[in-house]
Amino acid sequence: MNTLPSQPLSSIENASRYGGVAEAYDGERVDFSKKRASSIEALTNSVLESYGAATQNAPESAASLYENASLQSMFEREPTRLEIIISMTKKLNLVRDEAAIPKDRVAEIKQSI
């Protein structure tokens, strides 16, 4: 059976605010200083955990988001004309490096030019 608080609620509220010791309305003594510390600690831990998760994940997320966006835009957009001629020039050099054209084909090539 509940009993009426032995102290006015204002005292309990006061104690909880200023870390004092007060007797709860059911007669149990509650150390609000510990309770508050505990809850602040819990809150802090919770905040730190969230913050930690956020700080650990954020850069990675941001980086991967950025990377994905870049890749996405690269795949989605048409290559520019500059990119096309750079690619052509690279290809041409590869082909030239690997070419094994017999010298006796020169006359034929010159004729075709």
């Binding site: 004309r81 500059l82 096309i84 001629i85 750079i86 052509m88 020039t89 690279k90 290809k91 041409l92 050099n93 082909v95 030239r96 490096d97 070419a99 094994a100 054209i101 017999p102 010298k103 084909r105 020169v106 090539i109 010159k110 075709s112 030019i113």
Partner: protein, 146 residues
């Protein structure tokens, strides 16, 4: 070459190959069988195609246009003026942000407008014709032409 002049050229032009810049390279370092064309010979053949891309040069002019390496294209033109040999050489460098033009006299700039349009068109025509006529490769598919 005087070290200072060389250094100045490096600073202005960006590399120390300025003196050899406008010559067709003799890249004989690659081991090629003697019976096949050297890289220099291939570039000479390519240049014969490149020279015609811009139409017939004015009478008395000789023109070369060729690709030197993965990033460099060369335009060369020579002619006579009042009995004097004249020539002009332009190096075009492909950069990720544009086509950089280097001329004698340490003049350089990114090309734009009509010149850029002509350059891009010239490279595409060069690529297509050289791949077909010299290397017998379909420029679109990269497959060998039969």
């Amino acid at each position: 070459m005087n070290a200072l002049v060389k250094k100045a050229l490096e600073l202005l032009v960006g590399d120390d190959s300025q003196t050899d810049l406008f010559k067709v390279p003799n890249k004989s370092s690659k081991n090629r069988p003697l019976k096949t064309l050297s890289e220099r010979e291939l570039i000479n053949l390519e240049s014969a195609i490149g020279a015609k891309i811009f139409g017939t040069p004015p009478k008395g002019h000789r023109r070369e246009f060729f690709n030197l390496d993965e990033r460099t294209w060369i335009w060369y033109e020579e002619w006579k003026e009042h009995g004097k040999d004249m020539s002009t050489t332009i190096r075009y460098e492909l950069h990720d942000k544009g086509v950089f033009k280097v001329q004698e006299g340490a003049r350089y700039s990114y090309i734009e407008g009509e010149e850029l349009e002509h350059f891009i068109l010239a490279v595409r025509m060069y690529y297509e014709q050289v791949m077909r006529k010299i290397y017998r490769i379909d420029p679109a598919t990269g497959q060998k032409l039969v």
